[in-house]
């Protein structure tokens, strides 16, 4: 997940359309506006996504020099999610169900009561357990329009697209054989050949 240590694993994205002009002060304000906000146990949100400092998941106020490095805009994509272990949730639910049935003098709970109880128990467990924190380095080179996300997992990739759009008002397109071909230059003849291309096989029965 890190761009600064060890081997690199990343996915590339490209800003759709013309490269926007990045005005550092404005960009930094937009980043701060969309900075990561910690999850609150009593609120309904199960996940929170926002920016943090590049390489520092718990620094939520990146400064100018953290963000603007050479021609890059460097940020951390932080994603927190409540992750209550299923076994713990089931055990607590059983305990509370037994208590509630005893209080009500009944043998079973209605479907609505069960749902409410699950919500109550989940909420109380959120006070006891910290959310699962994930932070991934993101590096954007505005001049070339390339954004490198230092993971290839689908979840952070989707979160990046959303957050990028909200923060910088630009849409990202994930790299694929076609996107790279298009950037390298496709004439009308090549576009036609691309559209008509059929998969190659070396299978002997296909000959």
């Amino acid at each position: 997940m890190s761009a600064t240590k060890g081997s690199l694993t990343y996915a590339r994205f490209f800003v759709r359309g013309d490269a926007p002009e990045v005005q550092p002060e404005r960009a930094l304000r937009a980043v701060r506006l969309h900075a990561f906000r910690p999850l609150v146990p009593d609120e309904d949100a199960k996940e929170s996504v926002g920016w943090c400092r590049f390489g520092e998941a718990f620094d939520l106020e990146p400064e100018h020099d953290d963000v603007f490095v050479d021609e890059f805009v460097n940020l951390g994509l932080r994603i927190d999610r409540w992750a209550i272990p299923g076994a713990l949730l089931r055990a607590r639910l059983r305990e509370r169900e037994v208590e509630l049935l005893a209080q009500k003098g009944r043998e079973r709970l209605t479907r609505v009561e069960k749902k409410e109880l699950k919500e109550q128990v989940s909420r109380s467990l959120r006070h006891e357990l910290p959310p699962r924190t994930r932070a991934v380095d993101v590096s954007w080179a505005p001049a070339s329009g390339v954004v490198r996300l230092f993971t290839q997992a689908a979840g952070p990739a989707a979160a990046l697209g959303e957050l990028f759009k909200r923060t910088f008002k630009v849409e990202l397109v994930a790299e694929a054989p076609y996107t790279l071909a298009a950037r390298l230059g496709m004439s009308a003849a090549r576009e036609a050949a691309w559209a008509a291309a059929e998969p190659t096989t070396l299978a002997e029965e296909a000959r």
Partner: protein
Amino acid sequence: MQLVDRIEKRRFIGRELLLWLWFESEVLDGTLPTASQGELGLWIEREVLLSNGKELTRVKGAAPALGRDAKEALLAGKLPERASFKVSMGEREASFTLKAETLALSSLRLPTVLDDGDEPAPGELGAGPPRRGRARRSTVEEDEDRARDAAALAFQERMALTREIEAMLEALYADFLRLRLDSHWEALVVPAMRTWASGGRIDAERYLRARRAATHRARRR
């Protein structure tokens, strides 16, 4: 054809890129010519994963692509889904795994990376300009600044090297597309790849001449 179709329905082109890189690296003894970057050293090492729908063949080892297992998988209709490559550019070497359908790099080991932990001494590369008016600042703050500068420098070097690798791959992809999106693919490359996968002999010099002429003609169009 809509943009989404051009992206999603032609992801197999990435698998064909890997197949072509594999084929050329073997036939041309690991030295691939490119139109824009000159000659590059490139070969598969550690692992190649082939698939056809749900059927997978994973071949591991020092030179996994050289063995018959991998070739048999090709002849059974599988194509590379990802492969680990070693690349040499002049005296420098790097390694990475390339995913066919996203062209994404993983486990990219760069040739040289500045130490991102040590502080550069004053005057050394990465030490930055001499600071003034900071006599009252605590040592902790100065240490943080130095660590930040060193990390920024290390990051810049890593990105410069990463872009070199990307440029090399883009040069290879550009040459591949010149063949793939032209009649040369079916006329020259696919028959040669079939002969190679079946264990037949390829006249490397002759292939290379034909390939150079084909990419040259395609470039001029």
